[in-house]
Symmetry: C2
Subunit: 460 residues, 2 copies
């Protein structure tokens, strides 16, 4: 517990209305999007300028309390779950787009800007910010940067780190630096910027973010293909890439997910198929036509039962809803949804899908799998009930086995959700102990009092 | 000086033929591509496996000598110049392409692979490795990764770091880790990989590198446009980007460079023009035709005197030679060529070009400027003689002023050559002292004995 004298000092840094210690408020901030994890913070603080943040960080070093930064709290690895003796630093009010520079194709934003709001603003002027995490309508850019979030357009356009050109960061010692800038190329000094990206709030607090924008693709074509087997869907993905086509989107849904989506969203999806692919190609109209035709051919050659091609923007949105609503659709079927995030090299997607099926049978748990098949990034999602300890135990064992199998295939335990609390005990499987020790060495050097989001990613 | 007993231990780690201490050998390894800098190493060692490197690194920690890793030694910021009490670790023999994975579009290579050799190998099978530094015919991938090299295709395709998916690294303590892999997305733990990229041999020695490949563009169109003023060339670049066209290449040559190139390569370039742009668009044939037409229109609208469009691959090569030979052409005119590497936000290229002209007049030095105009990355190149101390003094003052002006425009002191020895005293101008202290803190933590390439990037 943080001493009341320290809480008093904290409250004096910000206006009264920006400091919360009531039980209701603590409960509100005690969890994020991750199941099975929660912890009450000692207080919540909403700083309104970077000097306040610096002040808070310096006080944390002096008084030895911890700071857990938080955007919208949509994270799926427990990155913003409070820890012992901590305050939550709520950045959600930092929601201004500060500048859109149409000459250099960049945008300076505050970390609390909602991702889809940025999409809308830049698309109005013919520009494009590709990263589109599943939670894009509620998550914040700051959280996206902290977790290096992905999304549906990752295959062609990359993930958040590919669009961060600069960061203003409050360091663990309270000092403030800017790394990066509007230069397309910059190799002066170490690449601190990319090291902060994905560091999950453990190395610094972002106060301003400079993003790269690109010209908006002229047009796009969205398709949905149904398959009788998972393996046919997997082969289709490989066949498309082998044709040297890189679609913007190649998303996979398995049978369980399809049924839940149809039940939830009533899109008219057939519920007797084994899997479907959502495919989107974008760019110049001629290229889109040509690539779409080739994609359709790949689907047919790999036994697609039916292929739907969106004729209008509205139809495209409806097809995309099948994928966009996957998590919500699964989540409403059972009290607890454990969403995992393994990634394997693209060539191993079909094998991995099969392994997930085998493992879910072995442990007798219900898993619906969907994900970014083109990226090899799959979300096997366990539908369970956290009050059923026995089943949760089996689910945990199943996930451990899924992680091990993914890593055997050259994969990783998390493609876009982060390590956080939820996956830190598995980090050694993918990184090895020596690399973790290297990470620890850097964390200790930059944050010797371990005040910034301690216990996330790894224990010190 | 390294003690002879230590040299003996070193020589016992590798075969005799891979350890050199003769004066001739020391002289050969005493310099790299950077003018005005040289230093004799105490020995040169050519390890043949990673265990030997680990052994050497551990001995360096025990006996307190330094290790300067080196590829082809083409660097332009002094990154591979020997320091006091050091051995050079020559990695140029590690020149095997270990695997090209056509399913996952990746290549595992040894660090000593020559960049253009990799280009040729992957293009044979319809794939593409975009980074193409000026020295691509002699430089190594390891050096490219250590410096995060750019090239002519950076505008559309990005730089080396955008293509490094994994690294095997011998750490400063001699331990070996692998970071990254074939996963398109991976956020497990801190992003060590991107932190090693561009760390200029100060944080680790690369022993294997996993690169991302992309499908080879179907076709391309190369153009050369001549202008009566620098400002017209600058405006053309902005006009092209404003049309939402991202060419693969937008290269600029000023009058001095054009004259030297023509004198050297006899390409039939007019020597009375003020500047030229080399432009290349690539991709789908229809898009290429359309974009090329728009590019030509932008050139005309901004007063291009003449526009040459390559009709064949050979003609394209000839046009590209105008740019590719710029450095060599300038270098042969005077005994010493000091090549700088500032970058400014794209929108400020025209202003920066003007400032360089004003500064070169003020200090009465001859500067030829060429560079990646689309990236804002310019190479103002001073033609001088290192024996003329007085002129070198003026050149140094001129460059300092150029750096300051670049930074005022939001630019940086190095876009693709690195900080090394040559630019470390200016690093604070772009990064600020607090960020440098953050870099130092990490370096000290990972390399407490400062054995890996000490004195490069910054002093400890």
């Amino acid at each position: 517990m943080i001493k009341s004298s320290v809480l008093k000092q904290l409250s004096s840094i910000v206006e009264n209305k920006n400091f919360y210690t009531s039980q209701e408020d603590k409960i509100t901030y005690s969890y994020d999007g991750t199941p099975l994890l929660e912890h009450l913070p000692d207080a919540i603080i909403r700083p309104t300028n970077k000097e306040q943040i610096s002040h808070i960080v310096k006080l944390a070093n002096k008084e030895h309390f911890s700071i857990v930064p938080r955007g919208a709290g949509t994270g799926l690895s427990g990155g913003s779950i409070p820890v012992e003796n901590c305050i939550v630093l709520d950045m959600s009010q930092w929601n201004k787009i500060l500048e859109i520079d149409t000459e250099n194709l960049t945008a300076w934003v505050e970390p609390g800007v909602i991702t889809s709001q940025l999409h809308q603003e830049v698309e109005k002027i013919g520009l494009f910010y590709p990263p589109d995490p599943g939670s894009m309508n509620i998550c914040t850019i700051g959280g996206n940067v902290a977790e290096n979030s992905g999304g549906l357009r990752g295959l062609k356009y990359g993930v958040t780190k590919n669009y961060v050109m600069g960061l203003e960061v409050v360091l663990p010692n309270g000092e403030i630096i800017i790394c990066g800038g509007k230069n397309v190329k910059d190799v002066a000094g170490y690449n601190l910027k990319d090291f902060f990206i994905g560091s999950e709030g453990t190395l610094g607090i972002f106060t301003r973010i400079l993003l790269k924008l690109i010209p908006k693709p002229q047009t796009s074509k969205t398709m949905l293909a149904y398959f009788n087997t998972q393996s046919d869907a997997g082969k289709t993905v490989s066949a498309i890439i082998a044709q040297k086509i890189i679609p913007a989107t190649v998303e996979f849904l398995d049978k369980t997910t399809i049924r839940c989506v149809e039940d939830f969203a009533k899109l008219g999806l057939p519920t007797d198929i084994e899997s479907l692919l959502l495919l989107e190609v974008d760019g110049h109209p001629v290229v889109v036509e040509e690539e779409a035709a080739k994609v359709v051919e790949c689907c047919k050659r790999n036994n697609a039962i039916e292929i739907k091609i969106a004729g209008t923007e509205e139809e495209a949105m409806r097809l995309k809803t099948a994928r966009r609503s996957a998590f919500s659709a699964l989540a409403r079927t059972k009290p607890t949804t454990i969403l995992e995030d393994i990634t394997v090299p693209r060539s191993s997607v079909a094998v991995m899908l099969e392994k997930i099926q085998v493992i879910s049978k072995k442990y007798d748990i219900q898993i619906g799998t969907f994900g970014h098949a083109g990226d090899g990034n799959l979300h096997p999602t366990c539908l369970t009930d956290e009050r059923n300890y026995e089943e949760i135990g089996r689910a945990e064992k199943a996930y451990e086995e899924i992680f091990v199998e993914a890593i055997k295939l050259g994969g990783t335990i998390t493609g876009e959700h982060g390590t956080g609390l939820a996956k830190k005990k598995f980090l050694h499987l993918v990184s090895g102990y020596t690399a973790i020790e290297t990470m620890r060495t850097i964390k200790r050097a930059l944050d010797p009092n371990n005040i910034l989001n301690p216990g996330k990613v790894f224990d010190l």
